[in-house]
């Protein structure tokens, strides 16, 4: 056992940190203020990232690379794309969560395509920016009860319904839509469909104004008799009541550690900046005295750092399991639950500790405290993660433990 970051991934961490500090931080406040304005600075970054992934022999990193590996056959342990994506996103979100969410071609839809697309689809959608549309006005965490329908009509599916909270929905080229083939059949009838931007019947209704991550657009999109070629259905088109949610939910086992990683980034940003500001007040926090013998401010720093470090290790573990083909649903949720609440707590506490410096716009601390909140909500709220973990631990079905 060895829990350090391997040398081969350190270059990636450094590159991502460079992007965070040199590209994201200087424009962080600008796009927090200019909500819904497209950060043009990211176009160049996106091409650089594409290039990096193309040339990377190690499998690369990013949304389009995420997937559960098969179990290693005597090939030894792997530190693959799940781990590198987690590490990269932590650094990027140390820079800015909103900007990291809106890097072209790194959408959640790309992760969904990577997880379940067949070869033909992977090829066809390669290099496109894909957003993910799951939530509806009446169905959030309870994604099994979505009402958007897809009806087979000849060579097309006809999609009808309304989707909200679509990250990058206004900017992406493709929208991966969750819709049900038959609302009476429950979760096993839910499939995901790739809809090209500009398809008749698909309409961008509005962009939301938000508490944080304002650099990232959050869209509401309606589908009215929207005809999608049937080869755009991701995964198995048949309704298999035994297989249930498996296919679509699999995406989340891969993306939850990534959202946990984002939380680690913004949490660390707050903690580091707070440490810098406190150092000017002579508070060093060098782990010298015991927890209870330290000053209150130092003890607070230690508690936060312990939380962050625990969340980091849980996240690395979840990513490592995925890279090595070991089921990680429980661990993915544990990392997301811990990192989400830890980062939110840390950004809020840091703000309080820094007083005026914490809450005015001269520092980014107040922004991070707004940004962090979403990380304990999207990709499954804190409560949904606890539900998943508890069901696994207690051996309960979703009927028994609701």
């Amino acid at each position: 056992m060895q829990l350090e970051i391997p040398r081969k991934l350190q270059a990636l961490v450094e590159q991502a940190h460079l992007v965070a500090s040199e590209v994201f931080r200087p424009i962080s406040r600008k796009y927090d203020r200019a909500e819904h304005e497209y950060p043009v600075e990211l176009d160049m970054l996106a091409s650089v990232m594409d290039g990096m992934n193309e040339g990377d022999l190690g499998g690369g990193a990013g949304a389009a690379k995420l997937k559960q590996e098969r179990k290693a056959q005597g090939g030894g342990v792997r530190n693959g794309t799940n781990m590198s994506t987690v590490l990269g996103l932590t650094e990027l979100c140390w820079g800015d969560v909103g900007l990291a969410l809106t890097i072209p071609r790194q959408g959640l839809g790309n992760a969904a395509i990577a997880a379940v697309a067949n070869e033909e689809q992977s090829l066809r959608f390669k290099g496109r920016w894909a957003a993910m549309a799951i939530t509806e006005p009446e169905a959030g965490s309870d994604s099994a009860s979505i009402r958007t329908t897809a009806r087979l009509d000849g060579d097309h599916y006809v999609i009808n319904g309304e989707k909200i909270f679509i990250t990058a929905g206004g900017r992406a080229d493709l929208i991966v839509v969750w819709a049900t083939l038959d609302p009476a059949l429950g979760r096993s009838a839910i499939k995901s469909f790739v809809v090209e931007k500009g398809t008749p019947g698909m309409q961008l209704v509005r962009l939301d104004h938000k508490l944080g991550i304002r650099a990232s657009d959050t869209a509401t999109i309606t589908f009215t008799d929207c005809r999608v070629p049937k080869e755009n259905l991701l995964g198995n088109p048949n309704i298999d009541t035994k297989q249930g949610f498996g296919g679509v939910m699999q995406t989340f086992d891969n993306t939850r550690p990534v959202v946990a990683a984002m939380a680690l980034g913004v949490g660390r940003a707050s903690l580091e900046r707070t440490r810098e500001l406190l150092r000017q007040r002579g508070i060093l926090g060098g782990y010298e005295r015991t927890l209870f013998g330290s000053t209150a401010a130092e003890a607070e720093l230690y508690r936060m750092e312990a939380e962050l470090e625990a969340a980091r290790l849980l996240t690395l573990k979840a990513a490592w399991l995925a890279d090595n083909g070991i089921p990680n649903s429980k661990e993915a949720s544990m990392s997301k639950a811990k990192a989400g609440r830890a980062a939110n707590h840390i950004t809020l506490r840091c703000l309080q500790m820094c007083a005026a410096n914490g809450i005015t716009e001269t520092e980014l601390l107040e922004k991070w405290a707004r940004d962090s909140k979403i990380l304990d909500i999207f990709e499954g709220t804190q409560q949904i993660q606890l539900l998943i973990i508890a069901r696994r631990l207690l051996g309960k079905s979703s009927q028994e433990l609701r």
């Binding site: 927890l291 544990m334 508890a390 207690l394 028994e400």
Partner: protein, 438 residues
């Protein structure tokens, strides 16, 4: 040796009062207080026939652990074959021996004779003592030590502490002992029945900090005089060998190797909230005279006090993780079995979420502990990691313990279930310093 502890203490008081050094240094008044306290509170010298530590053969150079070198630097949670074997063995022993004996040994305030006999069959000392001195150890295996602690504590904290405290002493002797100290003391730890021994660091005062020891060592001719009081020492009453943290006047904290038979070592059972099966004791060092070579280490490898404290904290954290895991396993079972309002209470989110959170926090404590242990055995700096693991165990250990009892309601509060013991154990282990190390 006198059979009457009171008489022994009075005799000691006499000897002490007439010591010229005491008068010269103006220590008479506080010293009188220590001695008075010793008599009043029933501290006593050992009444048993003590082991004579003897070197069978002398090492020319001290034996040290090799730094662990992994073949690859990849992040890897897989255990080595040896680690897996140790875990299997420890879990089985915890299940079959520690858990069934936990309540009884807690009552008798120390490990029972038959427990110690069963323990001796494991020969755990072999894992720590180097080959040349009768064991099998060659590499630093902080992580293996942490895994062993975790799995034994899953059975019972007190008995785990009683089993591991002597290993900690052997471990410290390998890390820092001089060739003389190693030749003399280590072979006994490789034998089936290891000597009772422990690391005495904690002192009885609020906000105790191991970096500010009040136990003092002063230079006295060709040796030292040790004076002070230690608490929470596992096996303290029966201990034959102690590693004592004391502030060497003008130099800072040092570890002294003290044999129980030394004049002025007075012990008293001092049962705590938890870990009662460990035989926790207080020890007074009443101007105990030790030779110069009693300082742990030699001129080349003097004991790094801060590293010793960090290794000790890793051990304490690993034990806390084991207790936390016991609570998790037990509450899962209980919540599934217990019916209320017509269905298992685990069907309620308020119950299920508490269990999910226990799982998250125990796993957090575990990974922090493993991370510190893994860094330590690879020779990487690990002070920060050990410190953070400790912080997490203090904060979350309390949470896990209290929620464990809460989940069982009234049943958690009575001794029919072991959860109230684990509640006490978790608070105890996260409030200790020293006692053992990995």
């Amino acid at each position: 040796m006198s059979k009457n502890p009171m008489a022994a203490s009075l005799a000691m008081l006499n000897r002490f009062s007439s010591s010229p050094i005491v008068h010269k240094l103006g220590l008479y008044k506080p010293a009188q207080r220590v001695a008075k306290k010793a008599v009043k509170e029933g501290f006593r010298t050992s009444g048993r026939v003590l082991r004579q530590f003897k070197a069978a053969q002398k090492l020319l150079r001290p034996e040290r652990y090799q730094k662990l070198e992994h073949k690859s630097d990849l992040f890897d949670l897989n255990l080595s074959e040896e680690q897996q074997m140790v875990r299997d063995m420890a879990s089985r022993f915890a299940r079959e021996v520690l858990r069934p004996n936990a309540a009884r040994c807690e009552e008798s305030l120390g490990p029972s004779e038959d427990y110690l006999t069963l323990l001796s069959e494991l020969g755990l000392g072999q894992l720590v003592v180097p080959e040349k001195l009768g064991g099998t150890a060659s590499q630093a295996s902080v992580l293996t030590g942490a895994l062993l602690a975790e799995d034994l504590a899953h059975g019972d904290l007190g008995l785990a502490l009683a089993a591991l405290a002597p290993l900690g002493v052997a471990n410290a002797l390998v890390r820092w002992g001089s060739s003389e100290q190693q030749s003399r003391f280590l072979p006994a730890f490789a034998e089936a029945r290891a000597p009772a021994a422990a690391l005495a660091i904690a002192e009885p005062r609020p906000l105790f900090d191991p970096n500010e020891l009040r136990t003092r060592a002063t230079i006295d001719g060709d040796g030292f005089l040790i004076r002070g009081e230690k608490s929470l020492v596992p096996l303290g009453e029966s201990a034959e060998l102690l590693l004592v943290g004391a502030s060497l006047v003008g130099k800072g904290p040092r570890i002294f190797v003290v044999e129980r038979g030394a004049q002025g070592v007075l012990t008293k059972p001092d049962p705590a909230l938890g870990a009662r099966g460990a035989g926790l004791s207080s020890i007074i060092f009443d101007d105990v005279r030790v030779p110069t070579h009693a300082i742990l280490g030699d001129h080349v490898d003097v004991c790094d006090f801060s590293v010793l404290i960090d290794l000790s904290r890793i051990a304490l954290c690993a034990l806390a993780v084991g207790v936390g895991q016991a609570i998790l396993d037990y509450t899962i079972q209980y919540a599934n079995d217990r019916i209320a309002f017509g269905e298992p209470i685990s069907h309620r989110q308020s119950v299920a979420f508490m269990i999910a959170n226990i799982a998250i926090e125990v796993e957090s404590m575990r990974l922090l502990t493993w991370s510190a242990a893994s860094r330590a055995e690879q020779g990487l700096p690990f002070h920060r990691e050990a410190y953070l693991a400790r912080v997490a165990c203090i904060e979350k250990g309390m949470e896990v313990g209290t929620n464990g009892v809460q989940l069982l309601g009234g049943h958690g509060y009575i001794k029919e279930h072991p959860v109230e013991r684990w509640y006490r154990d978790l608070m105890t282990i996260t409030s200790m310093e020293g006692g053992l190390l990995v």
